[in-house]
Each structure stands twice: as structure tokens, then as C-alpha cells.
Symmetry: C2
Subunit: 252 residues, 2 copies
DNA sequence: GCTTGACCTTGACGTTACGGAAGCTTCTAC
DNA sequence: GTAGAAGCTTCCGTAACGTCAAGGTCAAGC
């Protein structure tokens, strides 16, 4: 069984151009080329492509991928180098981001608000969400059912991932707050949109409900405490952002 | 007073090639061009160049710089966009780095050691280093004098910056630990070299002294507690890294 | 047998922000 | 007068493709 370039492209999600490029640089040669010049790929090439795509996801360059994939022992070394590069680059971006935030504050003549941000890996670690079950079942019976089913469909790893992402989102929001970004700034609206989507994972709040949810983050001490663990005033900022988002993008 | 391209290059730290490039794309035109084709710059151009370099430091593209610099009101908007891009990119790199770490663990068949890492902005905030003064004066009288003078020469902002960087370095080290990187891996040696340099800011430990300092991070409860705030086992890892570095790169 | 449209090919240019080199002209100092 | 430093333009290269352009191939329907 052999596949044409477009078929492989559809199966793997890369473009035909990319496959030709990989052929050009010798990273992934087709199994054979027809008399008409067409490239034909076999399963072996698909497997190799999979490896390539995994390593590409990890940020390796195509040259590194080629050497790593063709000489297995180098792979771990290459990944370690890449890991070091990644965290170095991440820290550089973090520093630059802070400088940009300070510069914005300067330009606006705003006093430098030194917001202290804590960055836990996973704020919800060991968090027992069932403590809210009775209350939620009572207040929103239908939504509770849906949410319950969603929760049941998640593995531990899914939960872990979701918690990490939620924590990271809270931290990003704290950074917008620290940078003095108004809650109706497009960037904050986008970030809040992500938050709305993550809520939609469980239920779909309309304008009123979403605004209300934001208020709850402030009014309910348990929620507020979680936000405050990241940064002082974050619950209020988050609530304001949600209100602004609901106003701008949600309908009743 | 006009300056030639090489003079401007020396004054500003960019290359002449870069200045020609900025001329080509219209970002920074010389004040005038001589009959011989030479570019001559005046103070106005130097000021503009300074602005360009600041914005370039902040990660803006040259096109963005051009529009931002020529229409002041756009500047803050451009910076806000850039800030959002930066933290988005930073988070993406953080996610990829975690995946790489997991992949390495997989490939090595190592059990997934879930190290929890805390990432405070500044671990030493409100830290009173003078609590160690008496002890240090007693144990290393000469070095203490030098360190004291160094400390006096630093402004509050310097201290703040140093503390942030020290915290970030501890977090990076925790990540190497979480990734299972051996302490004698080149990346860890490099990171430890940075630590050694930061220590050299105050005094210059030789092989024995540096190894000893590492042991103190583990043995002295107060030091160890600080490392443990970032991650469990970090003090031991840091000490081992310092011993490996001393062994490999320092002499007695 | 012809047309149509989907699919394939190679080749070349554009992207970012310059680095580097070739080949030539100009300035400056001795 | 000449050497060497400095200047100029022009072109190629970078990473990983995207995006035409111009043309050949294939399968299906009429």
C-alpha cells in the first residue's frame, strides 16, 4: 500500500510542501518515485514522519532531528540540550516581559505597582472539588449533572493537565494586572475568552451567569483565597475582566 | 558635528552592517550622504537609534518599531501587544520544556518523578541577610570585609535585581533536577558556573571552599529551608552540582 | 476523444534581521 | 606615491517552510 503526497499530508496534518521540503533536505525520502515523478510513501516513511513530528514539537531543528533519529544514542543528549535551551529562553522572555511591563508603566506615568506574583506549578494540587458538590447540585441542578458527567470522563492525567493550565491562566491574568493592562484591553479579552472556553468545558454560562461567576470569585471566601494565593487583588481583577468580557462578547 | 557609520557603530554598539540595513529599510536614514556616498549621522539620528535599540531590546520587530516610533500613541498599544506575546511565548516554552523533560524520563525508563516546583518572584523578599553577619565575620573575617563593601555599593534596586536573579537561578536548578539531569551534565555545569560567578560578586571561593559552601546549603537548616521552599531535595542537588563543578573546573 | 478539475511536478521568490564576502572607491597618514 | 583603513554596493546565506507560477498527469463524465 503506498500513498501519494497529498494523502500523507492529510493523514499527518502537515502540508505537501513540507513533505517536499523534507525530501529536498533528505530528512524524509519517499519510498519510491514513479515514472511520472510522483512521490509515493509507505508505512515505514509514515513511522519516520511521526518521529520527526514528535521531535519537531519538542522544538528541535530539522538538522538535529535528522542526526538524532538516525543515531538513537544522541537523542537524549539532544533533548537535554534542548531542555536547557528552552528554560533559558523561557527565562529570557520572562525578564523581557517584566521590562516591557515596567516600560509601559513608565510611559503612562503610572507609579510602579510592585505586584508580587506566586507561580505554583499546580495551585489545585490535592484540591478536593467535591467539597462544592452539594452546594452546586442545589443551585444549578442541570448544569451540575453535565459537569458531573464531564468530570467522570476525565482521567487523572486529564485532571492534572487541566489544573496546571488553570493555574497558568491565573498567573497570566496576574501578569496583565501587574502590567496595569485595562480589563477591556484586547489581550485581556482574549485571555478571558480562554477562561470562558475552559468553563464551557463543564457548562456554558451566558452573559449574566458569567458575570455572576466572576462576582462569586470575589464574594466567596474560598474562591477568593485561591486567587489571593497567586497575587493580591487578583480575584477582583479577574471578576472585572469577566464582566468586561461578558459585556463585550456574550449575549443573554 | 557629524559622525561616520563606523563611529556611530562604536558609540551605539551595533555593527555598521546593521546601520546600513536600517538605512535600506528606511528605519534610520543618515542625516546626509556625502558626494562620495558616505553616510553621515547627526545627534538626531543618534537619539532615534537609541529609541530603536530600546524597543528592539523589548523584542519588537523592526516594522513595529518604525510605526511605533513615528506615531507615539501607538507605542503603548504595541508594547501591550508585545507583552501579551511574550508571556504567551514564555508559557508555551514552559509547556514544551516540561514535555521534553517527561520525554527524557520516558526514554531513560526512569519512573516519572513528579517534583513540585514553586516559583516565587523573589524568594528573598524581606530577607534579612544581616542575621548572618556576626557568624560570617567570625568565620571568614577577610572575605566578610570585602562582601560588606560590595553590599554597601548596591542600591535597593540592585539588591532587588540580584535577589530575583538568584531566585530564578534556583528555579532553573530545580528544573534540571526535575528533568533528572545528572549534576555533571554540561548544562548543569554551565548553570552552576553562573552560580559561582554570582558568588564571586562577593568573594572568590576555590575548589574546597565552593564544595564546602554547597555542603553548608544542606547542613545549615536556614539555608536548606530556603531551597526546600522551591522544591524538595533541591539543596542536596545544588550541593552535588557545586561539588561536581568544583571538581571539574576549580583548582585549589 | 475531449474537457474539466483535482493532483502532481520543479523552480523561484519572500519571510527576519542582519552576517559575511567580493570587488571597487575613497580617505588618511607617511 | 603608496599602503592600509574605511567606505561603498551587491549578492548569497540563514530556518522552515508559504506562496505563487507554469506546466504535466490522472480519473471521470460527456
Amino acid at each position: 500500500m503506498s500513498w501519494s503526497i497529498a494523502q500523507v499530508a492529510r493523514m499527518s496534518g502537515v502540508t505537501a510542501r513540507t513533505l517536499r521540503h523534507y525530501d529536498d533536505i533528505g530528512l524524509l525520502k519517499p519510498d519510491h518515485v514513479g515514472a511520472n515523478g510522483y512521490r509515493y510513501y509507505e508505512e515505514a516513511q509514515l513511522l519516520r514522519l511521526q518521529q520527526i513530528l514528535v521531535l519537531r514539537e519538542l522544538g528541535l531543528g530539522l538538522a538535529d532531528i535528522a542526526t538524532a533519529i538516525d543515531s538513537e544514542p544522541d537523542l537524549i543528549a539532544a533533548l537535554r540540550r534542548q531542555h536547557a535551551r528552552l528554560i533559558g529562553e523561557r527565562d529570557r522572555l520572562a525578564r523581557v516581559a517584566r521590562t516591557v511591563a515596567r516600560t509601559i508603566a513608565d510611559l503612562e506615568g503610572r507609579p510602579e505597582v510592585a505586584v508580587r506574583i506566586n507561580r505554583p506549578e499546580n495551585l489545585f494540587e490535592g484540591f478536593d472539588s467535591s467539597q462544592y458538590d452539594d452546594e452546586a447540585r442545589e443551585r444549578w441542578p442541570e448544569d451540575f449533572e453535565r459537569a458531573q458527567r464531564t468530570r467522570e470522563s476525565m482521567t487523572d492525567a486529564d485532571v492534572e493537565r487541566w489544573q496546571r493550565e488553570a493555574t497558568a491562566a491565573m498567573i497570566r491574568m496576574a501578569e496583565f494586572m501587574a502590567a496595569g493592562t485595562p480589563v477591556d484591553d484586547p489581550a485581556v479579552l482574549d485571555e478571558t475568552h480562554q477562561h470562558w472556553l475552559s468553563i464551557c468545558h463543564w457548562w456554558t454560562p451566558n452573559r449574566t451567569a458569567y458575570t455572576c461567576l466572576g462576582r462569586m470569585y470575589v464574594d466567596d471566601e474560598r474562591f477568593k483565597a485561591n486567587y489571593t494565593k497567586i497575587a493580591e487583588g487578583l480575584a477582583e481583577y479577574q471578576a472585572a475582566a469577566m464582566a468586561a468580557y461578558a459585556e463585550a462578547r456574550l449575549s443573554d
